[in-house]
Symmetry: C2
Subunit: 336 residues, 2 copies
């Protein structure tokens, strides 16, 4: 690139935009779908029901311990597909860049997206770039959308939770939220907390080999485990009871939360899932999940009940019970 | 809504975000796909090859004569699908909102999106909302992605242009660019120029009834007719020759361009297409296109040639020839 920074002309549709695409995006994301070079990608149809999802990423700062907006954008949309039991087919990438953004930083983030997409085995099929004037966006925002296919036999969704179902969590919580907040506030911990950003579609595929009778899969991102469980309780019309002593919270996250005044139950996770299914599958499922790196800390955290429909309760370590509400206000803006 | 303005908490994942979705987005966009209420939509698979496209919209100002960012976001992505010969199945909507945005304005734009999607017969299947702090984005940005199906027999793409093909334009040019620029600069014309934003998928379906042997379809948005023809010339390795006297430029657009120092050939259009096909279909195709409102001003504007591969030339009204280059710099930032 002749320029070291993004200029408005990089979004104009003219030759500088073509150069940006040719020199930064195409070499990184190169694959046969993208190489079609039209405003849309055309894919073979593998059959099955189609899954379709979208997410915009506005995390601040753009890079943080364990990842960046790039990994989040790739993993997050793959995970939204996986949470419907879908096998991801392809991603789209829509970038909004601020005039003045360092092209070296853009290249770094694009490289991280490429690596994340390659590792996940999901091609970036089509894209779009816009540039806005300095001060009209904060560095860069990324939208990724994803398409996938869902086996006809699966019926996975928040409304499917049933009385007596077990609630399983695929690993520790709070890591992503603490990683971003500590970077934003310039705090260094002796044990650094890294974002858990990772793709979960292989874990889900592995879980579906244990049973296809999974009722709910949901990744507890914005709003954390507390908000996700509340959504499921409301959608299904059941209550959910979790046990504080069963929650896998790393000591470093607990320490950081005490310091920053945060509650790990409400912190975003970017590489974890909550699975709800008949309790008889729990042992086999947890064993299968633990056999993959992305599920190595999987554990049971609670169950679905008929009492108090729509409400999430937690049995506390000291023997009491606490209602886990949805927060009305903002806890952590721009966490993903 | 209790608040009249967007607050950071509307993006938090908590109860204020649920209220925003429940009170603003769901009532407007309501359809069975969106009502699934999960992070992804699941659709029946109609067969055929799959088409997938994405576009972000950052137009400034948000509302302008003839439309708004809302219509652009719906029509633009439908048109990207249509330009591949795809029948649109569903759209996703990813919104990035600035803290302080008036909720009345958001509702207005969401209502325009709903109307555009309904008129086009394409459901908004899934969505996402993020909120960033005041000053971190300019009002609102919208990403729409789209999926569709393409008949197995079609081979439409910029590289398919052939020697002797006719170049057809579906109507007047420059309207959208002038409408946005005049609004931005606060200029009122005696004959107001309105954006041409409209969906073109029905026009394309009608064209494919004349012949499926269409080589190229492309909508001349950012960078205008000049840039789009250059892309096709480069992708196909052919030259393209257009005739100035054949270009349908409304007098009001010509007048505004003179005043604002703009060239209509480089102005964005949001409801027009360029079609390239064997010349023998030209008369029937133009007649068919003119039978629909969105193609009523369709006309031949030039042809594909072997001379000067990759170059676009224009025969001027006074009998000369002018090379139509790709602009390197920015002509009109944030036009879509």
């Amino acid at each position: 690139m002749k320029s070291k920074h993004i200029l408005l002309a990089h979004g104009s549709g003219g030759s500088m935009m073509h150069d940006l695409i040719k020199e930064v995006f195409l070499p990184a994301f190169d694959n046969p779908l993208l190489r079609q070079g039209n405003d849309l990608a055309v894919l073979d149809n593998p059959g099955g029901r189609l899954a379709f999802t979208t997410d915009s990423y506005v995390v601040h700062p753009l890079v943080f311990p364990g990842g960046s907006i790039g990994e989040l954008a790739v993993h997050g949309t793959i995970n939204d597909l996986a949470m419907g039991g879908a096998r991801p087919l392809a991603l789209s990438v829509g970038m909004i860049l601020e005039e003045g953004l360092e092209i070296r930083l853009l290249e770094d983030i694009v490289g991280r997206m490429k690596l994340a997409a390659d590792n996940a085995g999901v091609p970036i099929a089509t894209g779009d770039t816009k540039v806005v004037e300095r001060g009209s966006c904060d560095g860069m925002f990324i939208n990724t959308s994803g398409i996938g296919v869902v086996d006809e036999s699966l019926r996975i969704g928040g409304a499917e939770a049933r009385d007596g179902d077990v609630v399983i969590l695929s690993g520790t919580i709070g890591d992503h939220g603490v990683a971003v907040m500590s970077e934003r506030k310039g705090i260094r911990f002796t044990t650094p907390v890294k974002s858990d950003t990772q793709a979960l579609h292989r874990l889900v595929a592995h879980m579906l080999e244990v049973t296809t009778d999974i009722h709910v899969l949901r990744d507890p991102t914005r709003g954390g485990v507390a908000t996700t469980l509340n959504e499921i309780a409301m959608q299904s019309g059941h209550g959910i009871e979790i046990e504080e002593d069963l929650l896998p919270i790393p000591p470093a996250v607990t320490g950081a939360c005490d310091l920053l005044g945060l509650d790990p139950l409400y912190l975003a996770n970017e590489g974890k899932l909550i699975a709800i299914m008949p309790a008889r599958y729990a042992d086999d499922m947890i064993a299968a999940m633990r056999s993959l790196p992305e599920g190595k800390d999987s554990c049971r955290i609670g169950r679905v009940v008929t009492e108090l429909p729509g409400v999430v309760r937690m049995k506390t370590g000291i023997g009491g019970t606490r209602i886990i509400n949805v927060l009305s206000g903002e806890m952590l803006p721009r966490i993903c």
